[in-house]
């Protein structure tokens, strides 16, 4: 079996001449694959669906599969043969077995398809032992990266309504798996940034430090100068954690999800937040060598312009090292709790920005964005 991976890359604006599309479709036309599969997220889903239609026009024999957190049975549209929901590692392997006649469609996990005019939604399967997943960099021909990214766990112990991370459940890669593959990464690749993709890397502080100790060991052994990037839950940060993280030979940059300081907004988002602990964490980080970024989200259910201003005030007062306000427009993601509720979004069935809520209209949301930009442009002069 031959595998070929493509990335759409970064595309800005509307490309009249469709170079990326023509490149990929030409490659598909020449290589005549049996299966073309697309991983869908907010930035790629619509394009993947367009590709599915186009591929069928080039060669109707090709099987098209859509997967990723974004998709559900609504994606079984023209050109799409199979939709894989949830984790794809098991499902895609089983689907290829089915296409090769080794099993029946009923044996394929996490798959949705149409059989004899009826939508078939198969059983869900979760990768129970993450160690069974091959380390992706073992398959990479490229050896030089600016950043390498690694999962040490999947899922999230929290369950915020706007986020998909918690699904299907929280699991860890074993420390043995990580030790072996971190050593491989350091010995075989050159990179400047090592990013841990976990939702909250500090959920288990003991484990986090065991992993960071492994990184330290490899950094020293290989003499690499790197920066480590991870996402932390601010309330779980304490003086001991900051002290120990500051002691590594590599620089650590952390991302802190915050979203709002408003009690109503946080409750509706199912995101209990201890503001006192957040303030304490920021004060500790401000005194440390650890760089951080803390984000807000506007347009969340229950938010108003004034409650958002209070959230901004909170960061301006307490996130002193950041010196700017980072705020994202709330994107309603498919298959999240909010995504399953009645919400007015830009593209109805695709993950896309919220257009209005019960407490804010479109103009107000845009003004919020302009307000943040205005404040940030002023802060540049400070």
């Amino acid at each position: 079996m031959e595998l070929k991976e493509f990335s759409f890359g970064n595309r800005v604006g509307y490309e009249t001449n469709k170079n990326v599309e023509l490149q990929v479709l030409s490659y598909i036309m020449l290589s005549r694959p049996d299966v073309v599969a697309f991983s869908n997220y907010i930035w790629s889903s619509e394009m993947a669906q367009d590709f599915a239609r186009a591929i069928k026009q080039i060669d109707s024999r090709i099987t098209v599969v859509l997967g990723g957190v974004e998709v559900d049975k609504n994606h079984l549209k023209s050109g799409v043969d199979f939709v894989i929901t949830g984790e794809g590692e098991i499902a895609l392997t089983e689907l290829v077995d089915f296409l090769q006649g080794k099993c029946t469609i009923e044996d394929v996990s996490n798959v949705i398809c149409v059989r004899e005019g009826v939508v078939l939604e198969n059983k869900k399967k979760v990768v129970q032992s993450l160690d069974t997943i091959p380390f992706p960099y073992r398959f990479s021909d490229v050896k030089h990266f600016d950043a390498v990214r690694i999962e040490t766990s999947r899922g999230c112990v929290y369950n915020c309504n706007f986020c998909y991370y918690a699904q299907p459940e929280f699991r860890n890669f074993s420390l043995g798996y990580l030790r072996e593959n971190l050593a491989y990464l350091f010995s075989e690749f050159s990179f400047r940034n090592l990013t841990f993709l976990d939702a909250n890397f500090n959920t288990n502080a003991v484990r986090m430090f065991e992993i960071l100790d492994m990184v330290e060991e490899n950094v020293k052994k290989c003499g690499k100068k790197i920066e480590v990037h991870c996402e932390l839950r601010p309330e779980l940060i304490d003086a001991q954690m900051v002290g120990r993280m500051s002691g590594y030979s590599f620089r650590i940059r952390v991302e802190l999800g915050f979203q709002s300081s408003n009690a109503i907004v946080l409750k509706l988002a199912n995101r209990p937040t201890n503001l006192v602990r957040v303030k304490e964490a920021l004060a500790l980080l401000d005194k440390s060598s650890i760089a951080y970024k803390i984000d807000l989200m506007y347009g969340l259910p229950g938010d108003t312009f004034f409650s958002f201003l209070q959230s901004m005030q909170f960061l301006l007062r307490h996130a002193l090292k950041q010196r700017k306000v980072v705020a994202h427009h709330f994107m309603v993601l498919n298959n999240t709790t909010f995504g399953m509720q009645e919400m007015v979004r830009f593209t109805p069935n695709t993950s896309s920005m919220i257009l209005k809520t019960q407490t804010q209209d479109t103009f107000e949301l845009y003004l919020t964005k302009l307000f943040v930009e205005m404040v940030n442009s002023e802060l540049e002069w400070y």
Binding site: T304, F305, F306, S307, L309, Q310, M312, Q313, L316, R317, L320, R323, Q360, F363, E364, Y366, L367, T368, L370, F371, E373, M374, V375, S377, E378, L379, W381, Y382
Partner: protein
Amino acid sequence: MLQKMFLKVGEYIPEYRSRAVVFLADTMDEFLAAEEILKNHGHKFRGVQLKSSLFVSLPQLDIVTAVSIVLEDVLCLDDIFKKCQRKYMELIVPYSLFSADLLKRCERAERVIVSFSNEEELAGLNEMFKAFITWKRFPLMLNVPLCKIDVRDVKHAAEIYLRRMSGVVKPMACGGCLLQRYCSFNGKGFVPVPLVDAEKYAGVLTFLSDEDSTARF
């Protein structure tokens, strides 16, 4: 504190040295006094607010890093832009001078604030908002009594977070208004109607009571 404060020269105290300040200067003497203080001011943001006629008559501004200019006519705009190079710039434009074209010309300014002088001018608010959106700017307004606009509505809420206006004598008709101390109304051009419904303005009041600095954003 990542927010600037507006004050008169006489109000300056040493504790403000580490803060972003904007001195309100009505005369050349006041400007010179402000400049003298700014020479030893500790914060990078060292501002003055003055009328455009006074501003264009000033020599080169070396100490000042930020200017807030009350525009009196559009003819001096080019002079202002020239003099404001590499400085933070805020323009306060009377509604009578405001137009979409003017906004386009003011691209260089970090903030454009439209000041109102009477009730009739409020009829043009929607057009003004359209112009601000066209030029991707947040619409800021000044001198509109808060009872004449719906301050709960973000597009009408601008001056409530702009700054607290100290020293404004309120007319008797404002008695009992919940937002009186946050309102810039100076008793001219509008007939005020006190806002007394605490429940209706709960969100605004919560925000205002949460912050107690002399500046907001």
